[in-house]
């Protein structure tokens, strides 16, 4: 059976996030506005005022309360959504850790923005990177349609009985949060049907005042280790589950994104570049142009950052001659990009090859076509065995 085509509307990435959440009929929404996410809260409030969204909207005084409210709502058996960005994500950090530790299946849109330290109301993935080790599932998307579709998939992943983990759907602030595109809005009853499988699963343990249980107070030694072990095992299971959900989504709605990663023209490629978010779209056009010149380059889009799609990446990269990674954030202490450092950990499996780190796009700097052409040229030379620079801060070199 196929879903209906859905209405085509010109909406921004932020609106798409709000539509995605609304269509999943959350019981509770609690979110605090922050640039460049504010429109998500505005749109959800409008849905609520119009009667389209029947959730309980909790007007919170800050992000910390927002995360505590939605995590508690999921632990009471409800479906809950929130959205934030940058300083907001930092301000809720203890609650972010709590939500993961409690295995609270919250879905959160995080609109990527630079973080405190250097004031910057601008795009960058540093906020997401700084919650990398919180135990959440983290997905990065490329455009407005993918935001909507991925939020629907995220609820199915978060609430799956075998997973029960919070999911963060990340999209670049400004470049995608404000990007108005034609977006297909699925029909609500079709989304109901897509999520219906959750109702056939065993019921997850919930907090019920009439049947008190102790949970999350503390764990000692081996009990603590067992909880951590199970958390890690659930994250591991999330990889395959995400691929399956993506495939189901494609079969039903006609749109799918490859699950953990998407490979673009990699099959016969000599070398590949790896990136995420809005840079992927532009990279597609540059790869197409380079292919037309006879350069055998491929592109890998990293969709899932936590858990890290090791197996998929090994399969995609093994046998290539070189790989270049474009990061829109930094890995403090490694003087390189975070996705690059993660990929370096796969070095034994992918085999000896040059791995190049490119840092670009911090603080809303545009990851332009010439930047990506430069990446491809550098990786092409490294693939030919020429000496290469391990880490390149593209816009700074350009300035010289």
């Amino acid at each position: 059976m196929k879903a209906k085509k859905g209405e085509l509307k010109v909406i921004t990435g932020n609106s798409a996030a709000a539509y995605g959440a609304m269509l999943c009929r959350p019981d509770v929404v609690a979110s605090y506005p922050i640039t460049p996410q504010t429109e998500v809260v505005e749109q959800l409030s409008k849905f609520h005022a119009d009667g389209v969204l029947e959730a309980e909207m909790i007007e919170v005084e800050g992000e910390n309360s927002a995360m505590n409210a939605v995590a508690a709502a999921t632990l009471a058996g409800g479906r809950a959504f929130t959205a934030t960005s940058s300083w907001g994500l930092v301000y809720m950090y203890d609650a972010v850790l709590q939500a993961a530790g409690f295995r609270a299946p919250v879905v959160m849109a995080n609109v990527n923005r630079e973080t405190p330290g250097i004031l910057a109301v601008s795009s960058g993935q540093q906020d997401m990177i700084q919650t990398r080790d919180a135990g959440w599932i983290q997905v990065i998307v490329e455009n407005s349609q993918e935001i909507l579709d991925t939020i629907i998939m995220a609820f199915r992943l978060a609430e799956d009985y075998d997973i029960q983990l919070p999911v963060m759907v990340n999209y670049d602030g400004f470049y995608i949060s404000y990007l108005a595109e034609g977006v297909r809005i699925p029909a609500k009853d079709d989304v109901d049907q897509f999520l219906a499988v959750l109702k056939t699963q065993p019921k997850r343990t919930i907090m019920d005042p009439t049947h008190p249980i102790g949970a999350g107070s503390h764990g000692l030694m081996t009990e603590f280790m067992e909880l951590r072990y199970k958390h890690c095992a659930a994250l591991d299971r999330a990889k395959k589950k995400f691929d399956e959900i993506d495939k189901d989504y494609g079969d039903f709605f006609g749109r799918s994104y490859g699950g953990q990663i998407e490979e673009y023209r990699t099959e016969d490629a000599d070398f590949v570049i790896l990136t995420s978010g809005s840079a992927v779209g532009t990279s597609r056009t540059v790869v197409d142009a380079k292919r037309a010149e006879g350069v055998k380059v491929g592109l890998i889009k990293l969709r899932m950052f936590r858990p890290f799609p090791q197996e998929k990446l090994i399969k995609a990269i093994k046998g290539k001659k070189a790989v270049g990674v474009i990061d829109r954030s930094v890995n403090f202490g490694w003087n390189s990009g975070p996705i690059y450092t993660e990929l370096r950990a796969l070095y034994p499996e992918i085999g000896p090859m040059p791995i190049l780190s490119f840092i670009d796009g911090l603080a809303s700097i545009d990851i332009t076509k010439p930047h990506i052409e430069r990446v491809i040229d550098d990786v092409a030379n490294a693939a030919k065995g020429k000496p290469y620079q391990a880490v390149t801060w593209i816009p700074l070199e350009e300035r010289e």
């Binding site: 010109v10 400004f174 595109e181 034609g182 809303s364």
Partner: protein
Amino acid sequence: MKEIRFHGRGGQGAVLAARMLAISLVAEGKCVASFPMYGFERRGAPVVAFTRFDDKQIMEKTQIYNPDCLVVIDPGLLKLPTLFTGLNPNGTLILNSSKVFDKQPNENLKLAGVVNATQIAVEEVGRDVPNTCLLGAFAAVTGWVGLQSVMASVGEYFGGEILRKNLRCVERGYNEVKVIKWQ
């Protein structure tokens, strides 16, 4: 693919104009990608907005460096030293101004539409919101989108009296724009 870059100031409606144009183009079956670039939302701060349209899905997520058309909502921004940098050799300009050019401002600029959108907005709406008038002028000068589609897109954002006032701005922009051509 056509690429359009809007230059305005916070509060003049550059972002909304770019989105209305996107809606009208999608209504005509085009694929569109449109986004603004600014930091904090501040009235009076320079705002740039980018709109691309094509017959196929648009993958680029970058800002626009080689526009086919510039839409300048605040005539003060004509002084921007980089305004015309990278303009397509068959470039078009839609300008809100009370003055018409006496000479070609850039060799790549071949077609300009000038309309006093501020005055029209003050007359029709009662304040300086020149964006919808310039969309009417855009439709007339470029021919890339129909007047009816633009008018329908304004209805997505306004209703009642304010919609009627803005629709008069669109129509007047369409009818009153002065077209200048260079070789």
